[in-house]
């Protein structure tokens, strides 16, 4: 417990706000009728998640979250919506009676199970830290201990680019090209 009108209290308030942003964004993302709004919700949720990362003492990852998720992934999804969804009100129109409540129940169960698990486990704090987890340390780790993974992810990204190009290019007929 910290007093409300102190730096810690204020930061706690902002934390609550960030959590609310995250959850609200997630709810919009899953529950809105229009896909475009769902993407907006996703963007809001990601901004909230970035805030959470900031509270987890990692501003670098927080900014990367914004750069990659908001700036790239969300934009790509909006783009796909524009290309593939001409009627903006298609979303959850054709659902059977079961899927709604069923999925809701499943979601609740998962949430309950996971949080129960989190609450019941006795988490052990580490005895000491190897380093302070700063940006320099992350960079060093990326290029030493995890360099193989680093290389692999670059490969994955390259493959993803090529794969996406191959998939999306096929079948494009230019208007007026034939005849």
């Amino acid at each position: 417990m910290v007093p409300l009108f102190s730096a810690e209290g204020l930061s706690s308030l902002i934390f609550i706000f960030i959590v609310m942003t995250t959850v609200l964004g997630a709810v919009i993302a899953t529950h809105s009728e229009r896909l475009i709004r769902a993407v907006t919700g996703l963007a809001i949720c990601f901004i909230g998640v970035a805030g959470l990362y900031y509270y987890l003492h990692s501003p670098f990852v927080a900014l990367m979250e914004m750069l990659i998720y908001v700036g790239a992934v969300c934009v790509t999804i909006v783009f796909a919506v524009m290309l593939a969804d001409p009627n903006p009100t298609g979303g959850v129109l054709k659902k059977s009676i079961f899927t709604g409540p069923l999925s809701f129940g499943l979601g609740i169960m998962l949430f309950w199970g996971l949080s129960a698990l989190a609450g019941k486990t006795a988490w052990v704090a580490p005895a000491g830290r190897v380093n302070d987890g700063s940006l320099e340390e992350v960079g060093r780790a990326l290029l030493t201990n995890y360099s193989m993974a680093f290389e692999l992810i670059s490969l994955v990204l390259l493959l993803a680019i090529i794969g996406a190009l191959v998939l999306a290019r096929g079948g494009r007929t230019r208007a007026g090209g034939e005849s």
Partner: protein, 108 residues
């Protein structure tokens, strides 16, 4: 007046992560369009990332590991989004819809 320091306890983050995961899962089952499912999938990934970051902050002896994991997840998510969207576009080209039910061609 006083307020609990939420931002400083592991369990808060775990619950938020579980909540995101649950919402994401709900969306994944509940949505009938490919893009909607992709969005839900991103939420699930976000929940996982939060878990990693939280453990990293409170439990890990080497606090770079979780960050690197999260960065990798981001990379994978970006790749996944690109691939998934190009698949969606391809599906849309062929079937004129991104509704998962209508795409099931082999279904009688």
């Amino acid at each position: 007046m006083s307020i609990p320091a939420f931002g400083d306890s592991l369990i808060t983050y775990l619950i938020i992560a579980a909540l995101l995961f649950g919402i994401g899962f709900y969306g994944l089952v509940h949505r009938r369009t490919l893009i909607g499912m992709l969005i839900a999938g991103e939420l699930i990934l976000a929940g996982a990332s939060i878990n990693f970051m939280a453990f990293n902050r409170f439990l890990a002896p080497d606090p770079t590991v979780g960050q690197i994991f999260t960065l990798f997840i981001m990379g994978i998510a970006a790749a996944e989004a690109a691939i998934a969207l190009s698949i969606i576009i391809a599906v849309y080209r062929n079937y004129r819809t991104i509704d998962t039910d209508d795409v099931a061609e082999l279904k009688g």
